[in-house]
């Protein structure tokens, strides 16, 4: 248990992860013993009904909340015992977050929002600006750089949030229902960008309750009542490289019934 059999391949590894919430007199287990491994460059979707603990799992894996029990290994190092501040420093370089409600800072411009993580990580303003320009160009929102986030559509806001999450080229991108608040056109847009980031080698762990969205991933983990009910690789998406995406999604949909 203490030994890591494959220290290099697994970017993220959770062992017997438990998250308990104290509520009233008793405690509720939101995550009840999850074992999960995510390899470098993988795109994993976590699915499950509401209340299955998928968001909690994501937050615990990103260190936003401490785990009650169990181990978290990030890049071959134990991370579950870290202090909140040590987690914060770890997140700067290695973990990017995208949220359902975008969570852009309304008091800053789009450009400042995207530059913030780099500045937090200690980049010079020049470096941060250069990286921001690259990202905004890549995600097609350069024109909105100086606008406040409130002037942007939901899809654009999520693109900015994605740019922000990728600003420090994190080892792991954690996406919590990134399309949960978007219409279908914007959903496709954001998914296309996620896909592109993944194609560029970005490791992504995404929580969603939408099977179509999950179908873009290499692997789908089904969570039920805080435990993993199913962990399936979407084989065709990987093997049939030349095949059109629609077919790949179709295969997955068939597979999951």
């Amino acid at each position: 248990m203490r030994q890591d059999p494959e220290p290099c391949t697994a970017l993220l590894r959770a062992r017997g992860l438990v998250k308990e919430y104290k509520s009233g007199g008793g405690s509720v287990e939101a995550v009840r013993g999850v074992d999960l491994e995510v390899g470098a460059g993988e795109f994993v979707a976590i699915m499950g009904p509401s209340g299955s603990g998928k968001s909690t799992l994501l937050h615990v894996l990103g260190g936003l909340e401490p785990a009650t029990r169990g181990e978290i290994w990030l890049r071959g190092k134990r991370a579950d015992g870290l202090s909140p501040s040590a987690w914060a420093v770890l997140r700067r370089r290695h973990v990017g977050f995208v949220f359902q409600f975008f969570n852009l800072l309304s008091t800053m411009t789009v450009a400042d929002n995207v530059e913030l993580p780099a500045l937090l990580a200690g980049a010079t303003p020049k470096q941060a600006r250069k990286r921001r320009e690259e990202l905004l160009a890549e995600l097609g929102i350069t024109a909105k750089a100086d606008a406040p986030p409130s002037r942007l559509s939901g899809g654009e806001q999520q693109r900015v949030a994605l740019a922000r999450a990728l600003a420090n080229e994190p080892s792991l991108l954690l996406a919590d229902e990134p399309t949960g608040n978007l219409d279908s056109a914007n959903t496709n847009d954001v998914l296309r960008l996620l896909r592109r980031a993944h194609a560029g080698g970005q490791t992504i762990l995404m929580v969603t309750h939408d099977a179509k969205v999950a179908g873009l991933a290499d692997r789908v983990v089904n969570l039920f009542d805080g435990m993993i009910a199913d962990d399936a690789r979407v084989v065709p998406a990987q093997r049939l490289k030349g095949q059109r995406r629609e077919t790949a999604i179709g295969n997955f949909l068939e597979l999951s019934g």
Partner: protein, 410 residues
């Protein structure tokens, strides 16, 4: 996996970044920030103005003393052992003039029992509290005053019924200029009264305020018309301008003026007395400083209040910053810096307002503008300390906020 470019893993915010970060929070809530900084501004302004006004008027007084010279000594009547007024010997001025280091000696003699009226028709009780003094001919320059209107007594007018008014005396009698033939009525118990023609009016005398309320006549005229006994009551002595000489003369004056009874002579140095008075004046300002402190306290509560609200309002931002990798210390620093910046801005405005008030007042009174560094430095320092204290609790609360709870509470 993408290659991670080498980025310096600095875990701390530079002060400039912190200031920029803090100013964003304030700039987006301008009105609220301005209102809460106002309390601090008022407190600091009150303190700076009180200290500035005191320093300015003190500086003005010290400048005047410097201009008038610190080498004036006065010798006055003392008291006898029984408590009666001990008169100086008539020879005192001449004796004093013989002391080495003394450059000029002038004297006045109080003419008792004589009152001054504008005309004989004025009821005798309306004396205005003016005194009549016999004076020597070089008095104004030595006593630190000069003639504002007309001319001073001369060898001729000193023998004639002619008078020179001190500044206050002229005001109380209703004269602001000298016209030919202007006269005043001097009368007193034992003799019927005598018209005296006005010769001149003196400027206010900082060193010898007793001259302001005096009507000065020549020694011979006083003896001839008013029954004056010829005893000097106040001797004005100028020494060489070296303070050591002044001090030495000071020590010798009593014995020289009245060798028989040196203890029955009052010797003083008006400049020293005024300097001490200027220093003591500051004590009166304690009340206003206290009021300023109360305003500062209220301002501090305002800042604390605004920061508590700010933390509540910006939970989402706090959560997000934590998620992006801001440490608790950085969140704490951000809100603390915001509070400090807020009250520092208030303090700076207060210093400016206090300095402006001081300048306006000092200019209006023809004084030099002096803002002591203690006042503005202390005002700014107080603002920073208050900001830090007021922001501490909200900042700690912000840092304690769990990132997920903050993010979910949109």
């Amino acid at each position: 996996m993408t290659t991670v470019p080498p980025v310096p893993a600095a875990a701390r915010l530079r002060p400039a970044d912190l200031a920029g970060l803090a100013s964003i929070g304030l700039r987006t809530r301008r009105l609220r920030a301005a209102l809460s900084a106002l309390g601090i501004a008022l407190g600091v302004a009150a303190i700076v103005a009180v200290l500035g006004l005191a320093a300015s008027s003190q500086a003005a007084l010290l400048n005047e003393i410097q201009a008038l010279g610190t080498n004036l000594l006065t010798v006055g009547n003392g008291q006898t052992f029984g408590g009666a007024t001990a008169e100086l010997p008539p020879a005192a001025p001449g004796m004093i003039a013989r002391l080495p280091g003394v450059t000029a000696v002038q004297d006045t003699g109080a003419v008792g029992g004589i009152n001054v009226y504008k005309s004989p028709l004025v009821p005798p009780v309306e004396t205005n509290g003016l005194s009549v003094d016999a004076a020597t001919l070089g008095l104004p320059a030595v006593a630190g005053t000069s003639v504002a209107q007309g001319g001073y007594l001369n060898a001729a007018t000193a023998r004639a019924p002619a008078a020179v008014l001190g500044a206050t005396a002229a005001r109380l009698l209703g004269f602001d200029r000298i016209r030919p033939g202007t006269r005043i009525w001097l009368s007193g118990g034992s003799f019927g009264g005598q018209w005296f023609y006005l010769s001149g009016i003196l400027r206010p005398d900082t060193y010898a305020p007793e001259l302001d309320a005096a009507v000065l006549v020549g020694f011979p005229a006083a003896q001839r018309y008013l029954g004056f006994d010829g005893h000097p009551s106040q001797v004005y002595v100028r020494t060489a301008s070296d303070p050591a000489v002044t001090a030495r003369v000071d020590g010798l004056l009593a014995a020289q003026a009245n060798p028989e009874n040196p203890g029955q002579v009052t010797v003083s140095q008006p400049s020293a007395a005024l300097t001490a008075q200027a220093d003591a004046k500051g004590a009166l300002d304690t009340l206003f400083l206290g009021l300023g402190a109360v305003a500062l306290l209220v301002g501090a509560i305002g800042v604390a209040n605004i920061m508590v609200i700010s933390v509540l309002e910006r939970r989402q931002e706090i959560g997000l910053r934590r998620a992006l990798g801001a440490t608790r210390g950085q969140v704490r620093g951000q809100f603390l810096a915001e509070a400090v910046l807020l009250s520092l801005a208030g303090g700076a405005c207060g210093v400016a307002a206090g300095a402006t008030a001081t300048a306006a007042y000092a200019r209006a009174h023809g004084e030099a503008v002096v803002i002591p560094p203690d006042a503005w430095g202390g005002g700014l320092a107080a603002a920073v300390v208050i900001g830090a204290l007021a922001g501490l609790l909200p900042a700690i609360r912000a840092a304690r906020l769990s990132p997920t709870r903050a993010l979910w509470s949109i």
